[in-house]
């Protein structure tokens, strides 16, 4: 078992204190006592401020006025359909049509805290539901709430919001009914609700909008019962996404599409050696170009303000710039050198799994060993980073797609010396993110430009080149694994895995680095529910190099590949069946069931599918979700072709089946595509891959048929945005091995084999 449960015996006080320190130091500046008090105090309702008399704010998630009902969906939608899911959760209890009410993300506020996102930072596997694990996870809610983090990430939207939004909907409904009862002098028990109205016993309908002002004058009814699953109309049913019409007609307005009166267009060129300064620049040619209105020196770079984005791009290209060298090794070769020398005792970051006696077992048997590598990867959402900013004397307005509106407020308040409350963030629909918008450099650049052109809206758009070369990528990872087999079984598994700390890098930019071990270095490896008799996972912290960030499925995106492929190697060495042995080793019931499910779906009877064909199975537990995948490939004359993929995942409850299937297929394609052919390599401190011709990922003709099954055996509801990603690369690697006999231990695979 993991170290967490080992240490259970050693006394709870010490353990809790260490956990607090680990996750809390960035946020428990004033100490835990204050935090607990502050957290127990109700958070003021943000919608109560600035409300007109005829508006009633029933909870922070529902707003009703004479014009209509607005559902506030505070978790950002990067494309995964979370606005729609949130709207349906509210509507399930409130009895409104989610397609006919207004939806809005709301202004960022402390009441929209996200307790779930921080749980993944806890060094306790999510399947470990011992009292300690529960305590630690519960405890993590305190700092998140204190910080007022309104953050979208970690596949947390649905788990965090499932009860919250339904309760909000129910409170709103019951309060409106009470208002109607008082208005009409009838018993509230005789009232019901339907499609935005309260139904009276005589058959009349009172629209919610007409009850709004009355409802505002009474105490909200908070003692509400949620509807039982049998009564649900939206949850678990095939529903239409609220944004699907706009997104099929080109009428969805993304941040990049915004146009304001008097707006100017801008772009930047910043040092691709991230964090290093501008040495000198010559803008004489750029200034002469048509449409260029201003050249602004910004932090680590230069911005062009023009009357058209393309003219700004062209002028930016015409700048003659010299950069200071980046503050990290110049080339990929040097970076790999730094990583491969990082696996030393001094750099040991964590050893949260240490079962049996690994050293003794390794001495006993014939050691099988391997080294695995994964590269830096860019997020590269299809909409390049952009922001529209207007800076006035005492007010800043920012329109942008972001997952971290509260941090932007803090950072912009610091930069502009304008009060935090006067920094207004208008969150825009996003053309993808995959973790990219957990950073805000692009927004701060736009603010710098707008400060130089006050009272004028500035739309700053990055070129694709700027976007690719200024990402905070997924870190590269190096794993050294050793193991033994005995009597046809896996006997020992010892993994040393090294990466830069995402927590240190990312939190360093957001507020301050988090001390203590970084679970992301080992996520997807230390927390796998396998009962291997001798089983150890040690994390090593590589030196900080390129600043790194969270990329769809974070640490598990690399460790999932390393951990599962080496397990596959051991299973082959043992002469066991890859699927059977994984099932035998697995001690977590919902995980066994997903493995059994993909076996049944694919008609598994071994990895071979005949000449030049093969299939691989892989399994990763991440974000609380067990996910198993089987990939079938053919080794054709033109290279490896991925024929078909079977996926099973358990999220406890599937709230939106249509969207679930989309997220799983999309996650599989994301995982496979990057494993096939994507990497960021560095020369002169900058990525070589500047556009999609060198960062291709999966293209339409390569997309396999994907068969998805959702299971609901897990004990609680979980998100599905990330868990399908980690098993995709290892399932492909294991399939390539089955079809060709070639074991590829480095991503992307196309460094070693061709794809059709």
């Amino acid at each position: 078992m993991s170290e967490a449960s080992d240490q259970k015996k050693k006394g709870r006080g010490r353990k809790i204190a260490r956990r607090t320190f680990l996750i809390g130091s960035a946020v428990i500046v004033g100490g835990v006592a204050f935090g607990t008090y502050a957290v127990r105090r109700p958070i003021p309702n943000p919608l109560l401020q600035g409300l007109r008399k005829d508006e009633a704010a029933i909870t922070p998630f529902v707003k009703i006025d004479a014009e209509g009902v607005t559902l506030i969906t505070p978790r950002a939608d990067k494309g995964q359909g979370s606005y729609s899911v949130q709207a349906h959760l509210l509507a399930e209890e409130l009895d409104v049509d989610p397609h006919s009410v207004r939806l809005g993300p709301g202004a960022p506020d402390r009441a929209y805290y996200n307790g779930t996102v921080m749980q993944e930072g806890a060094p306790v596997a999510a399947w470990n539901d011992s009292w300690l694990a529960e305590r630690v996870r519960g405890f993590m809610q305190v700092p998140a709430r204190l910080m007022g983090i309104q953050m979208t990430g970690g596949s947390s939207t649905v788990p965090d919001m499932f009860d919250t939004l339904r309760t909000a909907g129910a409170v709103a409904r019951e309060t409106l009914k009470l208002a109607a009862a008082l208005e009409e002098g009838v018993d509230v028990a005789e009232l019901s609700t339907e499609n935005g109205a309260v139904l009276l016993p005589d058959g009349r309908r009172l629209a919610y909008t007409t009850l709004a002002s009355r409802a505002a004058t009474i105490e909200p009814v908070t003692d509400v019962a949620l509807r039982s699953p049998g009564e649900w109309r939206y949850i678990g049913k095939d529903v239409r996404r609220t944004d699907i019409l706009a997104k099929s007609t080109g009428t969805e307005m993304y941040g990049i599409d915004l146009a304001l009166d008097g707006m100017l267009y801008a772009t930047v060129r910043a040092n691709p050696g991230l964090g290093s300064a501008l040495r000198r620049f010559d803008d004489s040619e750029a200034r002469r170009m048509r449409g260029v209105m201003k050249v602004v020196e910004i932090s680590n770079g230069v911005a062009i303000v023009a009357d058209n984005t393309w003219r700004a791009f062209r002028a930016a290209e015409a700048l003659d710039i010299e950069w200071e060298p980046g503050p990290y090794p110049a080339s990929s070769a040097e970076m790999w050198e730094a990583l491969s020398t990082a696996l030393t005792k001094d750099n040991r970051d964590s050893r949260f799994r240490n079962d049996g006696d690994v050293d003794a077992a390794l001495e006993d048997g014939e050691i099988i060993s391997a080294e695995y590598r994964t590269p830096y990867l860019a997020h590269a959402p299809l909409e390049p980073m952009n922001a529209v900013v207007q800076v006035g004397d005492a007010r800043v307005d920012i329109w942008t797609g972001t997952q971290i509106p509260n941090f932007i407020q803090d950072h912009v308040a610091d930069m502009t010396r304008i009060d935090r409350d006067d920094v207004h963030i208008h969150v825009q629909p996003m053309g993808g993110s995959f973790g990219r918008r957990l950073e805000d450099t692009y927004v701060l650049q736009a603010v710098e430009i707008a400060m130089a052109v006050p009272d004028t809206p500035i739309k700053m758009t990055w070129s694709r080149d700027e976007d690719m070369t200024h990402d905070y990528p997924r870190p590269m990872q190096l794993g050294r694994a050793r193991g033994t087999v005995k009597d046809g079984r896996v006997e020992a598994y010892d993994l040393d895995t090294a990466a830069q700390s995402i927590a240190a890098s990312w939190f360093g930019r957001l507020m301050m680095p988090l001390p203590g071990p970084d679970v992301m270095i080992i996520a997807g490896a230390f927390d796998q529910p396998f009962a291997i008799p001798n089983y150890r996972v040690t994390g090593y912290r590589a030196p900080e190099m390129v600043p790194v960030s969270s990329w769809r499925s974070v640490g598990a995106s690399s460790n999932g590949f390393i951990h599962d492929c080496f397990l596959d190697e051991l299973i082959h060495a043992a002469g066991a069946d890859p699927l059977e042995e994984r099932i035998r080793l697995c001690h977590h019931e919902p995980s066994r069931k997903v493995l059994e499910a993909v076996g049944e779906m694919s008609g598994w009877d071994g990895p071979s599918l005949g000449e030049n064909r093969g299939r691989g199975v892989a399994y990763t537990f991440s974000f609380g979700v067990p996910c198993a995948e089987i990939v079938e490939v053919t080794n054709t004359e033109r290279g490896i072709r991925i024929d078909k993929v079977y996926v099973a995942a358990d999220v406890g409850r599937i709230v939106d089946p249509v969207n679930f299937e989309a997220q799983v297929s999309g996650g599989v394609i994301w995982g496979l595509g990057h494993a096939m052919n994507c990497e960021l390599t560095y020369e002169n401190h900058a990525p070589v891959q500047t556009n999609f011709h060198r960062y291709r990922a999966m293209r339409f003709y390569q997309a396999p048929e994907i068969v998805v099954r959702g299971l609901e055996n897990g004990d609680r509801i979980r998100g599905i945005g990330e868990p399908p990603v980690p098993p995709a690369a290892p399932a492909l690697g294991n399939a390539i091995f089955a079809a060709t006999g070639q074991r590829i231990r480095e991503l992307p695979f196309d460094k070693h084999i061709k794809f059709a």
Partner: protein, 152 residues
């Protein structure tokens, strides 16, 4: 110079080499076509010129002879083109950012080839990148749209 977009004729005062995409987006405020790469690598900017799908981010506006149609001209939320209806029915979009381009490419394909094979669909759609991985639903939607158009 004059430019006809979605049936309306505009006078635009821009460099002949300005790509059509930026004339549409920043000069005319037609934002259905998206900027994704600027290098002809993603297809997010796909529009029709005389009914044929073209990559507008690398097409100088001065070289255009004929009529430009963007996603806004293909159909509207209350008057969907058959391809758009199929996109709604299959709930293709995730972030949706690539989908204007995907839809314009698919509409042009079906206009020229009402009953494309899987290989023909592959060939046509490969120019369009989707970072969210909506390819399986795009394929299904194209088949639905093809059947609907053949029935018309």
């Amino acid at each position: 110079m004059q430019l006809t977009v979605n049936g309306a004729t505009y006078d635009v005062d821009v460099e002949a080499e300005m790509p059509l995409l930026w004339v549409l987006r920043d000069e005319l405020g037609i934002t259905g076509p998206k900027y994704g790469c600027g290098l002809g690598q993603c297809g997010a900017c796909t529009v029709h010129v005389n009914g044929v799908a073209v990559i507008s981010c690398v097409l100088p506006v001065g070289s255009i002879v004929g009529e430009v149609t963007t996603i806004e001209g293909l159909g509207q939320p209350d008057a969907l083109h058959a391809v758009q209806s199929a996109w709604v029915e299959h709930q293709v979009s995730q972030c949706g950012y690539c989908q204007s381009g995907q839809i314009m490419t698919a509409a042009s394909l079906l206009d020229q080839n009402p009953d494309p094979s899987d290989e023909e669909i592959d060939r046509a759609m490969t120019a369009n990148l989707c970072r969210c991985g909506t390819y399986p639903r795009i394929r299904a939607a194209i088949k639905t749209a093809a059947a609907a158009l053949r029935d018309e």
